[in-house]
């Protein structure tokens, strides 16, 4: 009867020539890998192609190395490389100078108000980098900066004391912006260090300082080094801070140079040069990515998860808790409170001025009221499309990739995992430029240039690496036997994925979905590079306003952006905490 026929069909599937057919899972995995290869490989290939051609995209020109020779012979290239390195190194130094003590204070001492501080740290991530940069320009610009004006007034100075338009200024803002992300990375590594390693040193008669130097530091060093390399990789590739602060001051780094080559304010775009610079950046990125992966592997050897649940004893600060709190508070001011306050202040005045009786008389909400007429509905609609489409696409791909990598025995699953991680080594601006070139040069095959679709694709590629890291870790926690029980019960692989695995990882996936939505919403580098009139989003509107000098409008839009992000994230957190599982903050 029923049972017999099922047995029959299973036997029939495996005899004769059908034995040699690849399993369904392998076919699926191959298809997925090819798709990813196309998705990620094409833009990267474009960058390489760009560097080997001159002229306009689409023109048939012979391949040539003349872009590289002109790049290497120009002294400006070396100046820009030096700027990039200085900027990157200084930013990372500033970040670590703040983050390492912060992690130590929050995780090893009994400083009060820990929960509140954690929440405020998360809020720091909600303020887009370009808004924070603009806020600090409004404070420390030599010409219009409020702090400069105030200090000049107070001390009757002839020259403004602070100039944000320098590599130091850029490094300051960028360094600060890295702190929340770096904090969560370091904290996670810290948490997986076995506390009994320290206690074993104490019971061996070794004092606290010596234990710190001989045990804590060597064991957490791979993690710290990993974070350093990761930050350095990002610092070399970032665009927003060098563009907003560096460009007006004619300080170029690699990313802003690539940008001005493809979207110059005057003259024609030079994709060839952009490609040549991009190739340098790509090489750097890949080398650093390799280093990062090695460091993470080394770090994993040193982490031991204890089953015990004994936390290392909190060091009581005593009198030192006030300086520690002051340090944390100062940092939070610089990161969160001051930029937000400045933006709010600038948005309610007709023009930027110091607080005074005069200023208070001129307070107005008109910049908020005028937003609809200045901006129109299209940017909001486009941004909404982005916020919904990008995380959905990214998470679907991530779940599928993770499932193949973690759950199947497909032989090339390691390669697939690496493939998903590669976008991380490729700077966002390069991906965008590559995609732009693809859209322009091959517009007959890929008619995506000028549409919101190209931004969606760019964002998806950018965050597949992040998505797969989170789905990997979530999926590892779903014990293999849960799936195997499903297979034993007769369900196919697809059904097991749908009915067993997905519900179990839902909370983690949702968390990342929201997170990527937020990242997409405040992303400006790729949106700007791929910008045309047809795919305006809110971040590009802010950029344009800033470029035109409409300070109050920028501030008003910025405040709305931040408040909206806070509301959305807060609401989702509330919903998720009701479901029960809250994923990590980043």
């Amino acid at each position: 009867m029923k049972v017999e026929s099922r047995t029959e069909s299973t036997v029939a599937a495996w005899d004769g020539w059908r034995w040699f057919l690849p399993q369904r899972v392998s076919v699926f995995a191959t298809g997925l890998s090819l798709f990813l290869l196309l998705l990620i490989g094409l833009p990267v290939l474009m960058v390489v192609l760009m560097s080997l051609r001159t002229g306009f995209p689409g023109e048939t020109v012979p391949y040539t190395l003349e872009n590289f020779s002109s790049v290497y012979s120009e002294p400006r290239t070396y100046e820009v490389l030096l700027n990039t390195l200085c900027f990157a190194v200084s930013s990372v130094c500033i970040t670590l100078l703040i983050t390492v003590p912060l992690v130590w204070i929050l995780m090893r001492t009994d400083v009060p108000f820990k929960k509140t501080i954690y929440v405020l740290l998360t809020i720091g991530i909600l303020i887009p980098v370009f808004l924070r940069t603009i806020a600090w320009i409004l404070l420390l610009s030599p010409r219009i900066g409020l702090i400069n004006k105030w200090l000049q007034q107070l001390f009757a100075l002839s020259e403004p004391p602070f100039n944000l338009y320098s590599i130091a200024g850029m490094a300051f803002v960028q360094g600060i912006s890295f702190v929340p992300g770096a904090f969560f990375m370091l904290a996670a590594a810290y948490r997986s260090m076995d506390p009994s390693l320290e206690e074993a040193a104490y019971t061996s008669g070794v004092g606290k300082l010596r234990t710190f130097l001989k045990i804590n530091i060597p064991i957490t060093l791979p993690a710290i080094a990993g974070v350093m390399v990761y930050l350095f990789m990002t610092a070399i590739a970032v665009f927003e801070v060098p563009a907003i602060i560096g460009l007006p001051a004619r300080i170029h780094v690699l990313s802003s140079l690539i940008f001005t080559s493809t979207t110059p304010s005057t003259g024609l775009p030079d994709y060839g040069m952009a490609g040549a610079y991009g190739a340098i950046m790509l090489l750097l990125g890949l080398v650093l990515a390799y280093l990062y992966v090695r460091l993470v592997k080394q770090g994993k050897k040193y982490t031991v998860i204890t089953g015990r649940g004994y936390r290392p004893r909190e060091i009581s600060l005593g009198r030192w808790r006030w300086p520690a709190l002051a340090f944390v508070f100062c940092y939070l001011c610089i990161e969160v409170f001051v930029p937000f306050a400045v933006l709010m202040w600038a948005s309610i005045l007709p023009y930027l001025q110091l607080p005074s009786a005069d200023a208070f008389a001129n307070l107005t909400l008109k910049h908020y009221r005028e937003i609809p007429q200045h901006v129109g509905p299209q940017p909001f609609i486009n941004t909404l499309i982005l916020m919904l489409a990008v995380p959905t696409l990214t998470m679907i791909l991530s779940v599928l990739v993770s499932w193949v990598v973690i759950r199947t025995q497909v032989s090339f699953r390691g390669l697939l995992d690496t493939l998903a991680f590669i976008p991380h080594a490729v700077p966002g601006i390069l991906m965008a430029v590559g995609l732009a070139y693809l859209g322009l040069a091959y517009r007959d095959i890929f008619p995506i240039y000028g549409t919101i679709l190209i931004i969606i694709i760019a964002h998806t590629i950018n965050w597949i690496a992040y998505g797969t890291r989170t789905t990997n870790s979530v999926m590892i926690q779903v014990h293999r036997e849960l799936e195997e029980a499903g297979r034993v019960a007769g369900a196919s692989s697809a059904r097991v994925l749908w009915k067993i695995v997905l519900p179990l990882i839902a909370a983690g996936v949702l968390n990342s979905w929201v997170w990527i939505g937020m990242l997409s919403y405040r992303e400006v580098t790729m949106a700007l590079t791929l910008y045309t009139r047809g795919n305006v989003v809110i971040s590009t509107v802010v950029w344009q306003f800033w470029g035109s000098g409409w300070v109050p409008q920028v501030a008003a839009l910025g405040v709305i952006l931040i408040l909206f992000a806070a509301v959305v994230v807060g609401a989702v957190r509330l919903v998720l905490s009701r479901i029960g599982e809250i994923g990590a903050a980043s």
Partner: protein, 360 residues
């Protein structure tokens, strides 16, 4: 050597306050191997960590080798690294970034006393030899099996020849066979050095075989301290009786000073003085004292029971016998021809019964 007086400690947990230690008193003599035995959450590890200085008790005094190392009332607290002890952790806590040699040498190279290089090498060799790892000195610590890591941890704990050795369930992560082997070795090593040892475990077989004295704890209190023989044969309370070894329990009523009524008849067992006649009591007898034989012949006065299950263990057999509605566990050396469903004669020697009052 170790003196613990009126030790108290409570933790704040999500659901309220947890009293981990409720006034612990313990004296460990020099050279003694004292085992703290109890179920999880009983406070044995907390006691050990207080002696180590890794936890700070709320009240009470701790003295090591005559020196007061902890007293919240007198504001005395000596940090762990000054207490000159050795400790083996449950997770072994072997430092992954050093070799075996460096791990064991660490207390000598980084500790409070300076040793010469040759001295260090000599001591480390001696320590490694004692745990039979002398060929593995240059191996990176991450390249060891569980059993080897455990022995490195022991070598490290003893390399400074401390006055006291603390061990926190060091054998619980090993597989059964290795655990038994290490048990024997551990006792040999600690006795050969003569170090005072405080050992924490939840495994009662381990406690009985290792300790000079066993200290049974539950819910933050010490229920009984004594040589293994006393704790096993004369448990002071119902909890100790059931935690250490297997035990049969039967409810009964005390009729007189040495008579108890029970479903198994009147039993002539000594009733503790605190129990009044007529009060409810619990009778207890060890399975190995339940004599059981085939009901072939025998007098009318014999107690008859029915065998309901049989577990063959190789060197012994565990039988469940039902007598007058009461289920008893009997342990027989070797095997028996009795099978399930058979009738059997059950002999319960009166002197083997113990009586406990019902108020725990």
């Amino acid at each position: 050597m170790i003196s613990i007086r009126a030790l108290r400690k409570s933790f704040r947990a999500q659901h309220g306050r947890v009293d981990a230690l409720r006034s612990i008193d313990l004296e460990v003599a020099e050279g003694e191997f004292c085992v703290l035995l109890g179920p999880s959450g009983c406070g044995k590890t907390t006691t050990l960590r207080c002696v180590a200085g890794l936890e700070r008790p709320d009240a009470g005094e701790i003295e090591i080798a005559g020196r007061l190392v902890n007293s919240p009332e007198r504001r005395v607290y000596m940090p762990t690294e000054r207490r000159e002890l050795g400790m083996v952790f449950q997770s072994y806590a072997i430092w992954p970034h050093m070799s075996v040699f460096q791990n064991v040498a660490f207390p000598l190279t980084q500790g409070r006393t300076r040793y010469s290089k040759s001295d260090i090498a000599e001591r480390v060799e001696k320590a490694l030899k004692r745990v039979q790892l002398d060929s593995l000195g240059e191996r990176p610590a991450t390249d060891l099996s569980g059993g080897q890591q455990q022995r490195v941890a022991m070598a490290r704990a003893m390399v400074t020849e401390p006055k006291i050795l603390l061990m926190d369930e060091p054998l619980s992560n090993l597989d059964a066979r290795l655990r038994e082997q290490m048990r024997v070795e551990l006792r040999k090593i600690t006795k050969s050095i003569g170090v005072t040892t405080l050992y924490v475990t939840h495994d009662q077989a381990e406690a009985l075989s290792l300790g000079d004295r066993v200290c049974v704890m539950n819910a933050g209190e010490i229920l009984q301290i004594g040589p293994p023989h006393d704790v096993y044969q004369k448990p002071a309370s119902l909890f100790v009786a059931q935690f250490v070894g297997e035990m049969n329990f039967v409810d009964g009523t005390a009729r007189a000073k040495d008579l108890v009524d029970s479903p198994l008849g009147a039993i002539a067992a000594a009733v503790p003085d605190s129990v009044k006649p007529g009060a409810a009591v619990t009778l207890a007898i060890r399975p190995e004292h339940v004599q059981i034989a085939a009901a072939s012949s025998g007098g009318v006065a014999d107690t008859i029971g029915k065998v309901t299950s049989k577990n063959y263990l190789g060197d012994a057999a565990l039988l469940e016998v039902e007598v007058n509605g009461v289920m008893l566990l009997a342990k027989i050396a070797g095997d028996t021809k009795l099978c399930v469903g058979q009738q059997a004669i059950v002999d319960l020697p009166a002197q083997r019964w113990q009586v406990f009052g019902q108020a725990r």
